[in-house]
């Protein structure tokens, strides 16, 4: 029953409900998508799953055990990693050190951390970037390094928060291939949070749609594609976020 599970999560900020009774689960080797209009609560849910935000009600469970009360780094040590919107690397450090410090933070020896960092960069095909200062990287490379950093210590689950934001179509396709490899080759459970609905429909095995803090649809891509509720949720918000949905739905 190995899985990461949000069990009826609710979060309220000063009375304002950001999430209400959200259920979601991520399984090793599978890619789960999380979509929804702006302000739907996607990042709040990621924050809850990774210990950055305590839920007002409900629990996060890993293989059936509650993670309540754990600090973000303790959650990370249990094998639940995440990336952040915008990469958030240590911009003054070389790429390899960005990965290495994560290994060290996870309790590895320095030697083991360097070895794993190098192996990880190799696996991702970005070994030549190792000695570049992270702050000088182009946008897409920065995202890839952020994913590499999250994969240090071989987490069982990785939560990707808008990894494709600002990417062109070919770049997003490359990212999709990488995400599939993470699930398949590393047997890692992936939760993909994205605005690029096309990418999510194409990559994920299972998709959860959030709107105003509640799950409005939950199922395989075909079901999401056909869903009237989802279409409404997107139509009801700003025109630009409706566009990608309409495109893929024709």
């Amino acid at each position: 029953m190995g899985q990461l599970e949000a069990d009826n999560i609710s979060v309220a900020f000063a009375g304002l409900k950001a999430l209400s009774d959200v259920r979601l689960s991520v399984t090793p080797g599978h890619i789960t998508g999380l979509i929804g209009p702006n302000g739907a609560g996607k990042t709040t849910l990621v924050n809850v799953l990774t210990g950055f935000q305590a839920p007002t009600a409900g629990a996060v469970r890993l293989d059936g055990h509650s993670l309540a009360g754990l600090q973000p780094h303790q959650v990370r040590r249990r094998g639940i990693a995440r990336t952040f919107q915008g990469g958030r690397l240590f911009r003054d450090l070389p790429v390899i050190d960005n990965l290495e410090v994560t290994g060290v933070g996870l309790g590895q020896s320095r030697r083991a951390a360097i070895a794993e960092a190098q192996a990880m960069l190799d696996w991702m095909g970005i070994a030549p970037l190792a000695d570049q200062i992270a702050g000088t990287l182009p946008y897409t490379d920065e995202r890839r390094v952020a994913i590499g950093r999250a994969l240090m210590g071989r987490p069982g689950y990785i939560l990707l928060d808008e990894p494709a934001a600002g990417m062109s179509a070919p770049e997003a396709a490359e990212l999709a291939a990488l995400i599939r490899r993470i699930a398949r080759d590393l047997n890692c459970g992936v939760l993909l949070i994205e605005h690029n609905v096309g990418l999510v429909l194409e990559t994920c095995d299972h998709i959860v749609v959030l709107d105003s803090g509640a799950v409005i649809e939950d199922g395989p891509p075909a079901q999401i594609r056909a869903s009237e509720t989802v279409r409404h949720a997107y139509m009801g918000t700003a025109a630009d976020s409706a566009l990608p949905v309409l495109e893929v739905m024709e």
Binding site: H73, R76, D92, D97, V104, G105, L106, S109, R110
Partner: protein, 301 residues
Amino acid sequence: MLQVLFDALSLGSLYALGALGIALIFGVMRLVNFAHGDVIAFAVFALLWPSVDAVAIVFAGKMPWFLLIPFILAVGAGLSVLSEVVVFRRFRHASPATMMIASFALGFVIRYFLLMLFSSRPKSISLLPALSQPVEVLGARMPLLQLITIVATLVMLTGLSVFVRRTRFGLEMRAAAENFTMARMLGVRANRVIMGAFALSGALAGAIAIILGSQTGTVDIQMGGAVMLMAFIATVIGGLGSLEGAVLAGFLIGAASVVMQTVLPPEARPFRDAFVYGAVILVLLFRPQGLIAARGTKERV
């Protein structure tokens, strides 16, 4: 000419060590530690038996040099770590301004503690007297101490730079200095890193204490103040948070002081510091972010 160079280097060393001590702590926790100067004074006074006499009653200072030096460094490091555990840890989530005020308060506590035990009278002390013998280097005569100061500073700076770049602790410290919150989320042990930075900073204060004490032959509870002020200015010019910048600016300020002492007409020499500060203002007008800007300080989100 050579004499001026050596003078500049040795004064610069003092400022560079001080600036580095301040930059280390600023780097990991955005704290400008104004108690640093008082840690310097404390490290020297730890050698003395409490008394209000003009001649110091040397106590621990009777140790041979190879014990004396580690002792002073350890006292500096110990007091510094203690100040983090007892005082600064409680201000972890406070604003930088609040932490700065706390550091002023801590500085006063240390200074008045010394005042209570030793009075405010300067005391003469002969610390490592062998070091005041003159030696001749490349035709320039200088006290052995000056040579040792320069060499020891360079060794310490190189050692520290290797430490920060090549060790696990150094790696954690660099990451924490750049983005403390993120480093913490990744599992870097924050308290250990901060305590390490305080220990290094305190040991540097101890090193300054040894140099000052043996150079001037007097100790005084205010003795850290002047160095601290210049060192603080050096960290600002160097770019707050940048270790390389702090060292570079420390040496530059030392050099500027010595050069002005030589080239200014004798009537203007008493106002040397005014000229040095003038130069500081000029530098900041053109490079408000400091000589080597630390990226982490600019881009905090």
